[in-house]
């Protein structure tokens, strides 16, 4: 389209004759509201035809839309559940079981991926040649292979190298650490004694007390410049105090040890091989991305910051703690939150290896058994959407709080 006399290129003419009455097409306000009205009309029509098609098709299948079926008994069993569950439980219960299993693998995955990711990220910047090269290879190997392939490699490849369920690892220890086999890790199950609640209370007291002591110490340091061994007291209060209480109350914790039976170890607490494979794959895959984020975050800090800090007389450790890390975190946190979110969403790939998380048992098994595609996919998508909106609103809040105040 030629610039000078294109179909819509009328601005020149109008500008020349400012007094002339503008055609209503050329009034930007009118035009924009017309466009928006048309857009909304098309959208409403699209949504309406979508809904009416769905309704027609559903009624042709003799189905109605509604969530009443969620009260019905599911009729099937699930092999990992954090809450009470049986075949008589409702589909809502199935949803809850799936959601909790998703959150379990997501939270553990986030924890380990962050831990490994930060270590690898720092290692990539190490002056030690072999460490930095090894970290580089780790990152490039992990992130350039699809996550689903990693899950398969761990589930169908690596875990299958473990011995069968009837001859597991751990026989020599008589099951003191549980049994590890292709059927997963059958671990000793901790059983709380009568006085365990005392230890729990001690932990809570420790955390509250160390919080107050720390804020007092900071205030005092601000006012007088005197330092207080914050780290040691915190450690003592949060870890030491509970241990003392635990010992004094007479070790109120016992274990239910698994025993070998016809089909492998029984009793104890079962950690599914699907869970192990999924967690490992999610952790290493995400940790590679986190490592890159951490590296970029640290590199983003101008070298002048370090030099200025040294010039002020700070040594290497306080420089890192007080100057570099706080600034690097500002760069790191937003993409890091994104990775956490990705990990949570990626946990849905468990559907390929039968770990009973939300997509696998709710959008899989429950959908098939109830035949309610529309409602169940809707609930599932909405759940992930809420999770991700919560995360991004947290991120916005954090960004606003941490944003550099300039000028």
């Amino acid at each position: 389209m030629a610039v000078d006399k294109g179909g819509g290129g009328v601005s020149g003419e109008v500008a020349n004759t400012g007094t002339q009455k503008t055609a209503f097409f050329n009034d930007p306000k009118v035009r924009s509201s017309v466009i928006q009205a048309i857009l909304i009309a098309i959208l409403v029509y699209a949504v309406w035809s979508l809904i009416s098609n769905t309704a027609t098709n559903l009624s042709a299948q003799g189905k109605t839309f509604g969530f009443g079926f969620m009260q019905n008994a599911s009729g099937f069993d699930v092999n990992q559940s954090l809450v009470e569950y049986s075949r008589e439980s409702s589909f809502w219960r199935v949803y809850l079981v799936g959601l909790l299993n998703t959150l379990l693998v997501a939270i553990l995955g986030i924890f380990f991926a962050t831990l490994i990711g930060f270590s690898i990220g720092v290692a990539r910047l190490s002056k030690n040649w072999i460490i930095s090269k090894a970290a580089y290879c780790y990152v490039e190997a992990m992130r350039n292979i699809p996550l689903l392939l990693w899950i398969f490699i761990f589930y169908f490849g690596v875990l299958r190298l473990l011995p069968g369920k009837r001859e597991p690892y751990g026989v020599s220890l008589d099951g003191a650490l549980g049994y590890l086999s292709v059927g997963g890790w059958i671990a000793p199950k901790p059983i709380a004694g009568d006085l365990l609640w005392l230890t729990g209370i001690a932990i809570i007291i420790g955390i509250i007390a160390s919080y107050f002591i720390n804020s007092w110490a900071t205030k005092r340091q601000m006012a007088t410049g005197q330092q207080f061994p914050k780290g040691l007291t915190t450690l003592g209060l949060v870890v030491g105090l509970p241990i003392v209480v635990f010992l004094l109350s007479g070790l109120p914790l016992s274990f239910d040890y698994p025993k070998l039976a016809r089909f492998g170890a029984r009793g104890g607490m079962s950690v599914l091989p699907e869970f192990i494979a999924l967690l490992t794959a999610l952790t290493i895959y995400t940790s590679a991305f986190i490592a890159e984020i951490v590296r970029a975050g640290i590199l983003a800090i101008n070298k002048g910051q370090t030099e200025a800090s040294y010039a002020l007389g700070l040594r290497a450790k306080p420089t890192l703690n007080l100057v570099i890390i706080p600034q690097a975190l500002r760069v790191i946190i937003p993409p890091l939150t994104n990775q956490f979110l990705n990990l949570t969403k990626n946990s849905s790939l468990a559907v390929a290896i039968a770990y009973p998380e939300l997509v696998s048992i709710f959008a899989g098994t429950a959908l098939n058994q109830s035949g309610r595609e529309t409602e169940i996919i809707m609930i599932t998508m909405l759940t992930y959407l809420v999770l991700s909106l919560l995360t991004s609103s947290f991120m916005n809040w954090y960004n606003n709080r941490m944003a550099l105040v300039e000028r």
């Binding site: 819509g8 009328v10 035809s49 769905t54 027609t56 030690n128 350039n144 909106l389």
Partner: protein, 452 residues
């Protein structure tokens, strides 16, 4: 102007001080500078020793290289010929299934068609990506205009059944003719519309009419090509598989999501509240849900959304899901590029008297898109890896085809799965790593000159 105290000739280079060169010095500074560092070195070496040799042994030293069936890859106990403690990859299995992994069950006599598509894609893609090659614009047109149509015709064989879609169908019955009658009617409507708008804006209607006619002629040519009986055998997407499906999904996903992504990115930056809100909602929705639920939705629920009798084949459904999902991510990448442009560019464009679309088309997009090439490549890498998810809804992509080959009893051994996965991992790695290198290269190239 000579200063007497400045030396006129260069001094000889002196050798480095003792102990600052050679392998030991390098080792000392790079690996053993402090005790902690030395310890780290040893730990790293130990880990490398534990991981690398077994993998190399499995993949390159121990494996079976030649053979006809599972015997060469099984130990004596498993009914094969290898010693009982043997553990290595089974490469003949990969070799025997190579065709399956690359083309799926595409008819062997028709494989030349796939090869032509691969070749076209490789040449055009390489020319597009290498900055030094000229004719970028014609190439771009080829890649986004001619290539998709050609690939579609070659891969499926064309033969799309056209039918009336407006009024002609009601009195003519389903036929090609009905389609073209309707097409003509639609063209007339568009021309009338263009004339009407041009009249309303007091401008010459001819350019826009010409444009409508041009657009419709191009469309007519495309429709004619895909529906013409070209003598190519029809190959259903059901039997496509392997790398073919992976590439089809990845490439069409990126080609289709680019224009949608651009529109969404512009929509998100728009001053019209409704447009902006809708774009934001669309983007945030697709970014908030996992791809696998999108694929479930498109494979199970899409038939419910459509009027009765309208169906898409499975591959097309997956493509729709992937495109919707991907365009949201693409929109965010492009928005980054648009936002990075200084305000002066907009003001300059407006000062020249360009209208909105002219400004976007001639000033903003060319700059913004160039800026985000690395981002687009990264999105493509992500999409390429995400294509593996379609195996969950029953399509046989590269990984899916490898997995399904495990049930073939000819090669069933305990090392079969590991060999297959290792092969898959190497292929995916080569694709993704080279693309990410390219993206880094572009990033460095684009970076020059912008630094202050």
């Amino acid at each position: 102007m000579s200063n007497g105290y400045v030396r006129k000739e260069m001094l000889h280079e002196l050798p480095a001080p003792d102990g600052t060169k050679g392998i030991f010095y390098w080792l000392k500074t790079n690996l053993f500078s402090t005790p902690l560092n030395a310890l780290a070195t040893f730990i790293a070496l130990y880990v490398i020793y534990k991981v690398v040799p077994p993998v190399i042994d499995f993949a390159l030293i121990s494996p079976a290289w030649f053979g006809e069936n599972r015997e060469v890859c099984a130990t004596l106990k498993q009914g094969g010929v290898k010693p009982d403690d043997w553990f290595g990859a089974c490469w003949p299995y990969v070799g025997a299934n190579m065709k399956l992994f690359i083309y799926g069950r595409y008819p062997p006599d028709e494989i030349w068609r796939v090869n032509i598509v691969y070749l076209m894609f490789a040449i055009s893609g390489a020319c597009l990506l290498i900055p030094k090659v000229p004719y970028k614009l014609p190439n771009l047109l080829f890649m986004f205009g001619v290539f998709p149509v050609a690939a579609f015709v070659l891969l499926t064989g064309g033969h799309v059944m056209l039918d009336g879609f407006l009024v002609a169908g009601s009195f003519m019955g389903p036929s090609f003719a009905a389609f073209w009658v309707d097409f003509l009617i639609l063209t007339c409507i568009f021309i009338a519309l263009a004339t009407f708008i041009a009249r309303g804006t007091d401008s010459d209607p001819m350019p826009s009419i010409r444009m409508v006619i041009l657009g419709m002629v191009v469309l007519a040519v495309v429709m004619a090509i895909i529906s013409a009986p070209l003598g190519l055998e029809h190959v259903e997407t059901e039997i496509w598989g392997g790398l073919l499906v992976t590439l089809v999904i990845a490439v069409s996903g990126i080609v289709a999501s680019l224009p949608i992504g651009i529109l969404l990115a512009l929509g998100r930056r728009s001053k019209m509240p409704a447009v902006k809100m809708l774009s934001v909602m669309f983007i945030e929705f697709w970014r908030g849900v996992p791809l696998i639920t999108v694929l479930f939705m498109s494979s199970v629920m899409l038939p419910l959304f459509l009027p009765e009798g309208v169906t898409f084949d499975k591959l097309l459904r997956a493509l729709i899901g992937v495109t919707l999902f991907q365009s949201a991510y693409m929109a965010e990448v492009i928005r980054g590029g648009i936002q990075a442009l200084p305000k002066g560019q907009y003001e300059g464009a407006m000062a020249l008297g360009l209208n909105y679309w002219q400004m976007i088309q001639k000033i903003i997009l060319p700059q913004a898109l160039t800026l985000v090439i690395p981002g687009i490549v990264n999105t493509f890498i992500g999409l390429f890896k995400d294509t593996t998810l379609v195996l969950i809804i029953g399509l046989f992509d590269f990984l899916g085809q490898i997995q399904s080959s495990f049930s073939d009893p000819t090669w069933a051994t305990p090392v079969q799965a590991m060999s297959g996965y290792l092969f898959a991992a190497v292929i995916y790695w080569i694709f993704c790593f080279s693309m990410s290198r390219y993206s880094i290269f572009m990033e460095q190239r684009l970076d020059t000159g912008h630094r202050n």
